[in-house]
Symmetry: C2
Subunit: 477 residues, 2 copies
């Protein structure tokens, strides 16, 4: 593509993007596409001759857009948000154009050093311990794998890395502890890294869905008595289902007492700790060995961008470092080469978008937006609590409300309640006006509304409440 | 950022990008930044108040750009290319703006279905076996981890996933075979997945740096005789040092004979197989269980985009599938949920840029560009061969030339030749005009010139040859 065409279509697509941002509310939030529909509209074979950008953009509108679920719609209340912002999108454009690989310092010094700077900024914004060192990974799943590997190697004295699991006594399985409410990536990570899913011990939770530290300590002691080796505790700050907060201080004390690696997964909730009044969710973090939160969820930074911190980067580097001739540079002894901080060798220049976002909004501007989301969630919670036909199913610590329709006085069975609420959710999502998701807490099927889209305002939340009540009323009839 | 400002700065940054593309040759290819220089120019604390985009863009120019090594400079001949193109950059802009998470079908049907379509297109473009199914991963390192896990679980009957390595008899270590020239990600992957680096058996190479299949078979038989379990062969098509081509057909026959998973790493070279006259580099691929190549290297698609194919996706899905309530959707039985095809749960909408690139250039247009690079490499090779002061150190199969300055008639020691060539390389890279890298082949230090940047023309390659000879002459004096 010649530079003139790039300029022409670049301007056109900037307008396309700006128009999209302006009109996103005219789309149904959840795509109404049927399975196979997009695929059927596309040729099975690639074109031999090049096509005009004009045609490609037309097909983007005609074929792709109807198949998009609009995560940037202010009515997106499903899962956790993956919000974004103007400065983040523009930084991604610049990063794509520069196309640098931040694998070693020399292959773009600014990419490595800006990553160090913005990770230090995040450390300060979250008031994390001074000694934590940060690296940007793609996802919390990968950050967790990194933590599990560092824990595994610290326990094995870096022997499994070299000799593999056969070196480890079969009867002394390494054990990972996490709560029954922890994210599926913990078990997935345990499989990937060879611990095995069965060696992830799910610790029971209390009435607020937070890990019970007494049960944790008992599980650890039982394992030790049985000759098994406690390796890693994965505590969660802000569980996926209900943003439950594991008690880090008590868990950290147990980790220290038994010499177990403590990894803290705050993939979603970490952003909240930027607010002084919410920083207490990380009380005890000084006892953690590693910590992850995802700016790509709730920090206006487009996917992917996962902030991973470790107390002892030397251990992480020892896990990942391999030094083939073709990757050596004359600067290796003086600089940070992030290729040794994770699984991937190739690394995108992700620091740029964090830098754009933090500078553009400033810490105060970010706090204002996070506070607005938290206040809206509390307001929504109050509506649920005040309405006799609805039931709140978990404490609202942050931005996410778990609830269900449960008509007053009804003696409806759990099974029937589930069917009704599932039908309400399906109806709401099919309406296209908002998009919510579900989970299960204590066996009960919950609707789940998570407020964190960049452009969500009070009007969108009152609108959502109206839609939910309307669909619930219809279900009642 | 309001939409009006987004539009204003969006247009400004499109021009910034277009200007960058036009003037990229005015920058030194390898950044001249000193360690710590970029960092020192940035404040240690994040700003409390938001800043103007104007200031951020000024600092991008003033602080960041001097620290960029220009991978998109036509004088970038180092490593392997990570090239890009106008349509790819524009698709990345759109993808960042849509900000969808392609974790499950429902969270954006078009993202999943377009991924299926473009991966099928690539399968046809490379003439891969019909039954191969594709998924986009971020890097070949991660694709290789996926292959190793699938191999591990096939051999263990999915027992290690569940019960961990302790279930596996200690004396029967699982073994991985790859050549001495294979990429470091194989050993890294073996560590991550619990095999251990020592269970990666490095098979000797022939005079062309390709794996010796007889040595492979002997190693397999020796392991079997010793009670060890051959698990996976990682063959390389286009090694990192010299683009050597492992003989897939003979390796594949051994894999079949002993029931070993065959993974083919063509991370760089895969693109060449799009050329009918080069498709033979993949002869034997029908015997592979998995295959990876990176469109983000040499297919005009900006980083990251790794194309991973498997013959039996059910095995891959069985490795990765975990099904928590909060990720279930009503469509799960009818659709592909790519979250179960890899490590990460969250997934960027990467298919869009492949779709833009393949449509914009067409298969013919892509072939023309790849051919031009291959022809330039052959021409450069001929100059090396014709110059009595230079020595070719490996066959030039594709776009990469390994050579060194070796003055005619000199009886310089290997040690001194290395020092001279290192100094030549450092001088060339410090000149800022071109950027080359190095490797080691058969113990000898080689200079390495890899031609694959989108805008590299014959003039750039003749220019590079001039610069190399000039620095070599200076070294001779």
């Amino acid at each position: 593509m010649d530079f003139k065409s790039f300029r022409k279509y670049g301007h056109e697509l900037i307008d396309w993007v700006a128009d999209y941002m302006e009109k996103v509310e005219t789309y149904p939030v959840m795509s109404r596409s049927k399975p196979g529909e997009v695929r059927a509209a596309l040729p099975a074979d690639p074109p031999n001759k090049g096509e005009e950008m004009r045609e490609i953009i037309e097909d983007l509108d005609r074929i792709i857009m109807p198949g998009i679920t609009h995560w940037q719609h202010p009515g997106f209340f499903a899962y956790f948000p993956a919000n974004t912002s103007g400065p983040s999108i523009l930084a991604e454009l610049v990063s794509a154009a520069l196309g640098v690989n931040a694998m070693v310092w020399q292959t773009s010094p600014a990419a490595t050093e800006l990553e160090q700077v913005v990770m230090d900024w995040l450390r300060r914004m979250l008031d994390l311990p001074e000694e934590f060192r940060g690296v940007i990974q793609d996802t919390a799943s990968v950050s967790t794998v990194c933590a599990l590997l560092a824990a595994r190697e610290r326990l094995s004295g870096f022997e499994i890395n070299e000799k593999g699991f056969p070196v480890w006594p079969a009867g002394e399985a390494m054990r990972i502890y996490t709560s029954t409410e922890a994210h599926s990536s913990i078990e997935k990570g345990a499989r990937i890294t060879g611990f095995g899913g069965e060696n992830v011990i799910e610790i029971q939770v209390d009435g607020k869905y937070a890990m019970d530290p007494e049960a944790l300590e008992k599980a650890v002691e039982k394992d030790i008595a049985g000759g098994l080796k406690p390796c890693c505790i994965c505590a969660t700050v802000g569980t996926t289902s209900s943003t439950a907060l594991d008690p880090l201080t008590r868990i950290g004390e147990i980790a220290r007492r038994y010499g177990i690696w403590l990894h803290v997964d705050a993939a979603f909730a970490g952003s909240a700790a930027i607010l002084p009044e919410k920083r207490s969710i990380l009380d005890g973090i000084e006892m953690a060995d590693s910590f992850v939160f995802n700016p790509h969820k709730w920090l206006f930074t487009n996917f992917d961008c996962s902030a991973f911190f470790v107390k002892d980067p030397a251990a992480l580097i020892k896990v990942f470092s391999i030094d083939p001739e073709y990757l050596k540079t004359g600067r290796d002894s003086e600089v940070t080469n992030y290729r040794d901080w994770g699984i991937q060798l190739g690394r995108r220049f992700r620091a740029l978008k964090l830098w754009f976002v933090i500078r553009y909004y400033g810490v105060d501007g970010i706090r204002d937006r996070l506070r607005a989301h938290l206040e809206l969630a509390q307001e929504f919670r109050s509506w649920i609590e005040e309405d006799p036909d609805f039931e709140l199913l978990a404490p609202v610590h942050l931005n996410t409300v778990c609830f269900r329709f449960h008509p007053e006085g009804s003696r409806t069975s759990e099974k029937k309640l589930e069917a009704i609420n599932q039908a309400i959710m399906d109806g709401i999502n099919a309406s296209g006006k908002i998009y919510i998701s579900h989970t299960r807490l204590g066996g009960r099927f919950c609707l789940r509304l998570s407020i964190g889209q960049t452009y969500t305002t009070r009007d969108h939340v009152t609108g959502a409440w109206g839609i939910i009540r309307e669909h619930a009323r219809a279900a009642k009839r």
